[in-house]
Symmetry: C2
Subunit: 345 residues, 2 copies
């Protein structure tokens, strides 16, 4: 044990790596929802001037990085490493984005947990002194995900009430070594801790019920994060899960009920999937996809931290580790969730 390892699974970042830039790019539907005011760019067409949705997703991801880097007052060629992932087979969006951006790149995959996975790895690299600056990013696109995981959009298939809507969205942050000066912004948003998730499989086989598949992993990660730091839920102004959706948010509230460390949890808990769309947007249980938590974290939460709405938040993107092949082979849908805690100084 040392000053960077706390308890069983939690990592401390003693140098307080700082988020010095952030940006989000979202699609048409997301821009019509209740979070619209927070997004940095809203597309007028989900093709984004490209011939395919996959190329549009890659472009959204790339633009979210360019905008985050600009927001940080930096040039992209001065970013030391790019950490990114998405839902597409072989990380298609991230790979082509990384080719166009041209800086050193590590591809990450944690399904919809990818945003906090990339923030975690970026914080480790910056805090450890292996780089000065890192860009961490993730994306998803409704049309690319639907045709890859489910049905072609033209099929117009019905969706059960527990189904979630893959957000057309991308988010990026720039994490930089904390030199103590305030730089472009007058407040320091620092990543203080992280907890790497374990894969937890509640045995769900319905791939439409991802909230149920991921909630136990989110609960496990939050519980361990709190226990390792000897904190309670009340020590946070906000605990935000990735995309459990409305159904998964209910399960989280059930799982935390009557647990002393989770006293008052419901007052400080929210889920990105549950708040991405309005109930009249026909998205059933809410949003999902890597871009769902990525765009809300990079679009809304970073701004709210800058505005001093929160002092300390825990972000817990959640992923359902499933593929079309695993589903065909009768496998269950395991979940994973990675946590990072941000504080304003």
């Amino acid at each position: 044990m040392n000053d960077k390892r706390i308890g069983k699974r939690t990592i401390k970042f003693p140098t307080l790596p700082e988020i010095i830039g952030a940006a989000s790019v979202v699609g048409v539907k997301e821009g019509e929802g209740p979070q619209a005011q927070w997004f940095d760019k809203i597309l007028q067409d989900d093709y984004y001037g490209e011939k395919t949705w996959e190329k549009a997703e890659s472009k959204m991801l790339k633009n979210s990085i360019s905008m985050a880097v600009e927001n940080a007052g930096m040039q992209v060629q001065n970013i030391d490493v790019l950490l990114s992932g998405d839902l597409l087979n072989q990380l298609m969006s991230s790979s082509y984005m990384a080719r166009d951006v041209g800086i050193p790149y590590l591809g990450l995959y944690g399904a919809c947990s990818t945003m906090t996975e990339s923030m975690l790895v970026g914080s480790i690299m910056v805090d450890g002194g292996y780089c000065v600056s890192a860009a961490a990013a993730a994306s998803s696109h409704f049309a690319t995900a639907e045709r890859q995981f489910r049905m072609p959009l033209e099929h117009g298939n019905q969706r059960p009430p527990q189904a979630q809507w893959t957000a057309t969205a991308a988010g990026s942050v720039v994490i930089k070594k904390n030199y103590g000066d305030t730089g472009a912004h007058d407040r320091h948003i620092c990543i203080t801790h992280g907890t790497i998730g374990r894969v937890i499989d509640p045995g769900i086989t319905d791939t439409n019920f991802m909230g149920g598949a991921m909630a136990p992993a989110a609960y496990d990660t939050i519980r361990v994060h709190l226990a390792d730091l000897d904190r309670k839920a009340r020590d946070y102004d906000l605990i935000l899960t990735g995309d459990l959706g409305i159904a998964g948010r209910h399960i989280m509230q059930d799982l935390t009920k009557n647990k002393p460390e989770f006293e008052g949890f419901k007052d400080i808990y929210e889920d990105c999937g549950a708040i991405m769309y309005d109930s009249n947007q026909d998205t059933h249980s809410g949003g999902s996809g890597c871009g769902c938590s990525a765009s809300i974290i990079c679009g809304r939460i970073i701004k709210e931290l800058r505005q001093k709405k929160y002092k300390r938040v825990m972000l817990v993107s959640t992923g359902a580790l499933v593929s079309t092949i695993s589903k065909q082979q009768g496998e269950t849908v395991p979940g994973i969730a990675h946590a990072v805690t941000l504080e304003v100084f």
Copy 2:
């Protein structure tokens, strides 16, 4: 700049994280090839007692980790983090393996460059003090890759001469903080440096010609690694690329010709794909897949380092960042390559 950043893109690991365990598991064909003596387990049937090839691949990966952990004289529950990836959509092999292993997990994707990517991230986490021990792994399976990327095996399609054969193979290492004692082995195999790759796209559209797509990325990473450390190729006993195959190995030799820092390169250069199979095994340009370099690194190279055959080796797994969708959309095949340097003390 500090003691962990050297030149433009190279990372130094001042605490010399140590590889204390390694293991490889390969399929029938690989076990009939020229590397057979080095592998720790050779399957008698590529289904490995499972109902599907995907489940067999996941089991190979899991067993390579169990064997590496045993080789390290540790228990799997004492490994702090698991870093793994594979070629399957949504990292199916790694996800289900990570569920079964049950320890904290970060999914990585670098196509066939994943083994050195996972070793790089593992070294950063151990050297930085974020964990004491990490397991780094990667796998591939001929039958899972063929039906995902190309054609069902039953189709029996012809393969062009530049095509490579996805290795049915998995490899894992255990990286641990270097406490200075010799532990289970009498020699320290340490990871001294790493270089994160950039995505480089030579514009190749033939997805059978992966050696050509990846060689420029391998060349770029090796060149930068040498320049950053002010070394020449001759300072290494072995520079081993991932899976450029026979065609890609030729290209590497062409790219390095008449470059002063690469003087004598051909005497110390080899490629895992080019040596995986015999010419009579009908694999055309040689082996590929994450498991190709993973099994040769974890099977052969670590043993040869223990036997003092080499003092210093550079390992450069190489990945072709392509998907079936990107190919259908007329995209080219970009390459990436990550390097780690190992030394024996």
